[in-house]
Amino acid sequence: MNDLGIYIHVPFCGRKCPYCDFYSVPYCAGTVSAYTDAVLRNIRHYSEPERTVSTLYFGGGTPSLLTPEQLGSIISEVRNSFRLSDSAEITLEANPNTLTPEKLSILRNSGINRLSVGVQSLLDDELKMLGRTHSAERAEKAVRDAAAAGFGNISCDLMIALPGQSPEKLRRSAERLAALPIQHISAYILKAEEGTPFAESEFLKELPDDDLSAELYLETVRIMAENGFEQYEISNFARKDFESRHNCRYWKCQDYLGIGPAAHSCYGGKRFAVPRDIGQFTGQDFQTEEVTDDAPCGFEETAMLRLRLTEGIDLDDFPEHRRSIEKKAPALAEAGYVRFDGRKLSLTPEGFLVSNAVIGQLIF
């Protein structure tokens, strides 16, 4: 039996960030309690006592709004219903403002061994523009406190291609972040998602164009490398052996079970999503599975996901498509979009920037 990753979507936020279009609802202690009960029910529902769970991920929303007790009870339930590996990677996404030294120490003891901190920027004007409630200083302190509390695997989010961002400004923020005691950085290009307040804000017109965005992305890749963070995925950089094991499951078409409203799964031979409805989730015995794909991980999907990783694809895995890819790869390699040694093919940073087009060209 393959091992499994479990994702818990915690859809609560103290305050919604103006650029965010993930599913979340305002924090309310009563709802959180009902939510936690529903999560526990669902874990029991999917119970596979023989199956090893090697990663557990609390994403959101703001999962750090759950009390350490609530988080602990969920981890315990996973341990009861599955075989939770001793070396399991257990990640909690956290908002810097919610992290106090005391809470960090309790979290560390509850079994959480990896933190993903929503820093986004270490420049106050950028944080303000993004509607974040923390300051750069507060974020740095939270990260240092986490390290002091014993977290040896900390990831921070960094947003790039912000309105008004120059390569120099990006470097100031990114280098300050890389200097913190952290092992992993996720760097996302800011996108004005339709329907978010940000998409209608005055900042929009200052959003870098595609050419500048591309430059900022490549600058990020350089800064990360200079500071010992190796790129392993389009948006992810890590010190050696600190790649996110959970996220890698997504790119490698390995099973993951998502619990909570808006959670996605690739589990039991299908992909499914849970409706974005907290009331429905807490009101039901078991979550509703809306199947989006009942035959996942075909060639196109597998190649598309794997090519997000710097390790790329091995043509030996796709004998039927080998010839077609071999024909197209050299021109892409010559243009600097891919590396190709006749067997292994992977995208370069320039290739990642146009990954849709490159992947499309390779697999269609």
Binding site: I189, D210, D211, A214, T292, M304, L353, S355, N356, G360
Partner: protein
């Protein structure tokens, strides 16, 4: 039925001047159609005709009318195509009649098309009966229009019936005029059969139905008939007439009559409009005059947007050809567009109609190449070739003389726009012939123009420069020597065959620049920089570059939600289907189409 009680006539009118509406009123007044069966404009029965307000194919209807003299008359109303592309078909329809009703709009007056068709009718010795329509409009000025008809055409018009076909006003006057003014047909039913084919269509049960006007003799069910131009012989299964909705097998048709013949004819190619039908056992000495094979004038490559639909396109063209012998097509291969067909059309409207029918009735997504005319090339060795596909245009070194087809164009417009029209015609390499005032405000201009200058967008531009007031008509007038060059378009250094075209040397530069710009706007940025070049021979005369794309949407796959990423991938896959892969360059369908509309 004695010949003196028959009236064979057609209606000539400009688009929108009310031909179909008048035809409907006549049908209604003669009770050919029960009122409850009336549907607006019965004679036009193709959707496209209705939408464009034009009549594409001729139809003929037999009507019964009791005149004020108390006698019963048979009217054969022959509907004619109103557009210049079908000029020859119009002339054959006219040849089947003794008279023509000329419908003129009471506020607009005479238009170029009306004039051309009226002259054609007069050439065929038809009695022209003017009728002034739309007298219900506030802007109607029947007196002025009647005077215009007298001045311009030179036929008496002061007693022309003033009618409103729409309101049904004064229709009887028209019917009486038909009886009194249009001569009865002549002809001897006992002579050898001589009948003129003026239209045909394919019926899936009866085979080809031919519409004929019997000039001499009689045709009966069971007769063996011979179609004189093709020599094909058939046995007559039905001979009779059409009322507004059905065929009535009468058993025979006599000299003077108009009707149809069904003879289990499989191919419409055998039944050419203008051909003479005779009796195979007792043939006439010689066919009726005026027959000629209709040759396509405008050619264009038609390709399915989705290469897999090639078979569907062929089937659709074959079906259309069943009813339209003037449509020609043969398979053609383009490096850029794959497998398709080189299609020949009578003219621009004909081309548009065919393309539209293919897309609408057969649900095909098409890519068409720029329309081309037939160029006449004399080689240095004296050989002469006609070239209808720019791809086949020979190396200039081998050409002694190149000629292009010319047309005589007639344009009618309010005199305010004369400047604009002249500018346009000059720009299109026109030779001004003459200009005359029809009255104080309207003017008719004559130009000689190269056909290739009007096949793109001439009429559209003319309309826009005259606020829609100008009308336009043309007729072929043979070939004239010209300084022609072949312009090639190169993408990433490779010639795109489907984009090559022939152009006058003086216009090559501006045209090349415009095409390069259009392509730049319509080819999306892609992974590789795409140089666009226009060249004559090896010489590059225009250049643009589509820069390589720097960044596309980096969809997040947060929390393992890959749905957005997959949607992007699907969209890309769909988009790719609409793209033509030319080497490493992906060219969207729109890019091919955009170069067809350079002025918009």
């Amino acid at each position: 039925m004695a010949n003196e009680k028959i009236r064979n006539f057609c209606i000539i009118a400009h688009i929108d001047h009310g031909k179909s509406t008048l035809a409907d009123r006549i049908l209604e007044k003669t009770e050919t159609v029960a009122i409850r069966d009336m549907e607006e404009q019965l004679l036009d029965n193709m959707d496209i005709e209705r939408e464009r307000g034009i009549t594409i194919k001729a139809r003929a209807v037999r009507l019964k009318y009791t005149a004020q003299d108390g006698e019963d008359y048979i009217f054969n109303l022959i509907d004619t195509p109103g557009h210049v592309d079908f000029n020859y078909e119009v002339s054959r329809s006219l040849a089947a009649c003794e008279g023509a009703i000329l419908v003129v709009d009471a506020s607009q007056g005479i238009e170029a098309q009306t004039l051309a068709n009226t002259y054609l009718a007069i050439e065929h010795d038809l009695e022209v009966v003017p009728v002034v329509n739309k007298i219900d409009l506030p802007s109607a000025d029947p007196e002025r229009v009647c005077a215009e008809v007298e001045n311009v055409i030179g036929i008496p018009a002061m007693d022309a019936p003033r009618i409103s076909a729409k309101m049904g006003t004064n229709i009887e006057a028209v019917l009486e005029k038909i009886v009194t003014d249009i001569p009865a047909p002549k002809g001897d039913p006992d002579k050898p059969l001589k009948a003129l084919i003026f239209d045909s269509y394919y019926d899936s049960y009866k085979g080809v139905i031919i519409y004929v006007r019997v000039k001499e003799g009689t045709v009966r069910v069971g007769d063996n008939i011979r179609l004189m131009a093709t020599g094909a012989v058939f046995n007559v299964v039905e001979a009779g007439f059409m009322d507004a909705s059905s065929l009535n097998n009468n058993g025979s048709l006599e000299a003077g009559e108009v009707g149809y013949i069904a003879a289990s004819i499989k191919s419409i190619g055998d039944t050419r409009v203008g051909d003479t039908v005779t009796n195979d056992d007792n043939p006439c000495d010689e066919p009726l005059p005026g027959y000629r094979k209709v040759n396509p004038m405008v050619f264009s490559g038609i390709y399915p947007a989705d290469g897999a639909k090639y078979g569907d396109l062929r089937d659709a063209l074959e079906k259309l050809q069943l009813n339209d012998a003037s449509l020609s097509f043969e398979p053609e291969t383009s490096i850029a567009l794959g497998f398709g067909f080189r299609c020949g059309f009578l003219g621009l409207l004909h081309m548009e109609i065919i393309q539209e029918r293919l897309e609408r009735e057969y649900n095909l997504d098409l890519i068409t190449t720029a329309p081309s005319v037939i160029y006449k090339v004399t080689f240095t060795n004296g050989e002469v070739q006609y070239i209808d596909n720019p791809t086949n245009y020979p190396d200039p070194a081998l050409i002694q003389c190149a000629e292009e087809p010319m047309v005589k164009a007639s344009i009618l417009a309010p005199s305010d726009y004369v400047g604009n029209i002249m500018e346009l015609c000059q720009d299109r390499r026109g030779n001004f012939k003459d200009m005359k005032y029809l009255d104080d405000t309207r003017v008719e201009l004559h130009y000689e123009l190269p056909l290739n200058e009007i096949v793109y967008d001439f009429f559209d531009v003319l309309k826009s420069r005259t606020k829609g007031y100008a009308s336009f008509d043309y007729e072929m007038m043979g070939y004239a020597p010209s300084k022609l060059v072949k312009l090639d378009i190169l993408l990433n250094g490779d010639i795109v065959d489907a984009l090559s075209f022939i152009v006058h040397a003086d216009k090559a530069y501006p045209r090349a620049r415009k095409i390069a710009e259009k392509l730049k706007d319509n080819i999306p940025r892609q992974l590789f920089e795409v140089p666009i070049q226009a060249a004559i021979g090896g010489k590059i005369i225009a250049r643009e570059t589509v820069k390589a794309v720097r960044k596309d949407v980096l969809a997040k796959c947060y929390g393992g939600d890959i749905t957005r990423k997959k949607k992007l991938l699907e969209k890309q896959k769909e988009g790719k289907k609409r793209m033509r892969q030319l080497g490493t360059v992906e060219v969207p369908q729109e890019a091919f189409m955009s170069v067809l509309k350079l002025d918009s």
